[in-house]
Amino acid sequence: MGSLARGSLSVAAVDARGIVKRFAGQVALRGVDLRVAIGSCHGLLGENGAGKSTLGRVIAGVHKPDAGELAVMGKPARWTSPRDALRAGVAMVHQELAFCPELSVAENLHLGRWPTRGGFVQRRAMESAAREALVPVGLDIDPARAVGSLSTAQEQLLQIAQALASGARLVVFDEPTSSLDDAECQRLLALVQRLVREGLTVIWVSHRLPEVLAICDRMTVLRDGEMAGELEGSNATEERLVEMLVGEHRELRAAKAETAPPPRDLAAPAEQAPAFLRVEGLQGERGLGPIDLEVRAGEIVGLEGLLGSGRSRLLATLFGLLPRHAGRVFVGDTELPPNNVRAALNAGVALVPEDRKRQGLVLGLDAARNVALGQEARWQRGALLDLAAEQHDTHAALAELDVRGLRPGAAVAALSGGNQQKVVLARWLSQSPRVLLVDEPTRGVDVGAKAAIHARLHALAASGTAILLVSSDRPELRALSSRVIPMARNVT
């Protein structure tokens, strides 16, 4: 794409040399070099915890590097805040979305620089400016709407609009597609390609290799905070990327990840098994239902649908988190009462929520305590908790999912996004639930870990668990499910 003598330009959009970034007790980047040509789309890949987000944040002024030189658009960049970076034309679309949900689209877009006259905010002016800012990203929404009411994809587009409106010439995207469905993904990719053609420089962080191959001119692979290699877009293939991602010593794991066939033979006995999770005429919040479905023991049933089609709401209603207005839910022979999480848990139901930051984790507690959350009673000996046993079991659960960057006592907030996701999974998988409701289980997880999680889900099903799966990642849904149920506008 747009190959206008890009390589011959002497000035690079980003020229980073020997960037080192240390966090208390941990080195995230150990001397990384990165050169990004102006007007190119540069892929940044690596396993969970490799340092991608950290490198992106250094470029966008969120972190100050401990050592190394950073130049942006040919000028040395010694920024102390994202504001400095923004002024120099660098913006970042964060992995975790960052808006004030109560404020309107327009207010969020112009946060920190609201137009005023005589001390009063010029709402009209602000909203018409916002409407203009939304045009380049093709977002057709009322600027007076509260951001909290937007979908994830819309919020993402809003972040891009904000970056463009502030005059950014370089935008770092940190896993922008991880929470989008297929169609939205395609739309975002097309938008980014168009913006790149129009001269924007993009750094694209992602675990989705096909999309990286599709839009990136060049890609850099990080491993354990170091540069593991670079590839020109024209001679990159998925195999070569995987090889660079996991390194030679872990080639085996990668090979298994790529080729392990889903144990289809398990689907056969499941066919005769009785329905283990049974839902009859369920109705819930915001027009959900009526829904009927059955999941047999040992079966993985995928729910397919667009964002907003009610899949997550269905899972939360089954688990008792959202009110159930009508219908019955059976687990085995027991009927679950509505709106009662404890009853669901006691019946052996588990829910892996879609939003790890809001619903999955207590960010201030350490990983082990997050795994133990809600099942502390398991380690009660007499009147007190056996903390040593708890430590032992939770660490085993964390090790099983290969969570990297753990430090005892350190808040889970310090883990990389993918590793946080593994912590959420570790809690629920370690309970060997009888019914597992999983919502976007591998959001933000790297290729190798994804395969490991898939294997765990298959093993769990093989041991007789009924699994109801929601995933916007269509290949994942297809690969995991023995049966797919389409869901549209609140009904199956």
Binding site: G25, H63, L321, R358, Q359, V362, L373, G374, L385, P408
Partner: protein, 358 residues
């Protein structure tokens, strides 16, 4: 100072201990020598002062700070503790003055416990049910009950002080229990309030560290939605912390009533500020999710030392200038000292964070 440990919660006491050490040194150096029967002693650093003026009156404050810590841990706040403290002290006095002065301890003590703890817990339960049931912000709820609980005392006790004129509380409760004396050399100690304080600290400490319900409070305060998703009984936990805060205020009221052998309709007025300050100085985060029992105890000690310092010092010679300390300044000084203590303690945290975040 907080950079010593890997996590803020485990390293926090060190910052506080440093504050305490500094405060103790300052007070020792600044206070005048005092002539007593057993020779010259430091006005601050002597058993008489530290026990009678610091440790004993700090007992009720520390016990309430434990309750405040539980509430603050969940992201809540209870500003009605002073009123609960006063009401349970009044109720205890009202019931006990009906007993004969020499009534048997077997009769008096269980009654006293039941009344004080019952009133405290009932008040706390009201707070908890209003906060959890009506989903009103705890500041508003306890602002209301602060006034109501105080008002109940005012209406019920017309002559403002109990026991009423001519009445006396049973000695089995006062001198025989809360105010019991241990003779040490030529002076005496009244250790019961301190012992109760330490026992309460240990119980709350074990509850927070080693009991399911206690540990879950950290999750509730850290991220309520995640706690709900993990299946925690969030409503029950929330009601429980307010009830426990009430219970502990009841314990404190019991001690104060027995120690002073009386209660007043103004007992505990304004205590909520000192109590919340103690909890916060002790490391409880008003955002929720952080706080320890030991912190509450040390926080109360810091506050009490500052008050004591103002009591015994008339001026501090800072070399460059002489800082006058008179009673009129005490409010300002306490406020400044609280801010300074928190600042010193937090500085380490900020520094550690800055290093972590670059």
């Amino acid at each position: 100072m907080n950079s010593a440990g890997p996590s803020s919660s485990s390293s926090r006491p060190w910052g506080l201990l440093l504050v305490l050490l500094g405060l103790g040194t300052l007070l020792t150096l600044a206070s005048d020598p005092l002539q007593t029967a057993s020779g010259t002693q430091n006005a601050f650093l002597r058993v008489d002062n530290l026990v009678a003026n610091v440790a004993t009156p700090m007992s009720w404050m520390a016990i309430m700070a434990l309750g405040a810590t539980l509430v603050i841990l969940t992201g809540g706040i209870d500003i009605s503790v002073g009123s609960i403290f006063g009401l349970s002290a009044l109720a205890t006095a009202a019931v006990l003055q009906r007993f004969a002065v020499d009534a048997s301890a077997w009769l008096v003590l269980p009654t006293a416990l039941a009344v004080a703890l019952g009133v405290g817990t009932a008040c706390g339960l009201v707070n908890g049910l209003l906060v959890a049931g009506l989903r009103i912000h705890p500041f508003i709820v306890t602002l209301g009950t602060l006034s109501i609980f105080r008002g109940i005392g005012l209406v019920a006790v017309r002559d403002k002080t109990l026991p009423s004129l001519g009445e006396q509380l049973p000695t089995a409760f006062t001198e025989g229990f809360v105010g019991a004396r241990w003779n040490v050399g030529d002076t005496f100690l009244q250790p019961v309030p301190m012992i109760v304080m330490l026992v309460c600290t240990v119980i709350v400490g074990v509850y927070l560290a080693r009991r399911v319900g206690g540990r879950q409070l950290y999750a509730l305060g850290g991220n309520e939605e995640a706690a709900r998703y993990a299946g925690l009984p969030t409503t029950r936990l929330r009601v429980r912390v307010y009830a426990l805060a009430g219970l502990l205020a009841g314990v404190a009221g019991l001690l104060s009533c027995g120690f002073y052998q009386s209660a007043n309709t103004a007992t505990g007025e304004g205590y909520e500020l000192a109590v919340i300050a103690a909890a916060v100085v002790g490391g409880a985060s008003l955002q929720g999710g952080r706080g320890t029992a030991l912190g509450a105890l040390l926080g109360a000690l810091v506050i009490k030392l500052i008050e004591n310092g103002i009591d015994i010092l008339r001026e501090i010679d800072l070399g460059l200038f002489v800082l006058p300390i008179s009673k009129e300044y005490s409010k300002i000084l306490i406020g400044l000292a609280i801010l300074a203590a928190v600042a010193v303690d937090r500085l380490g945290e900020v520094w550690r964070r800055a290093r972590a975040a670059g």
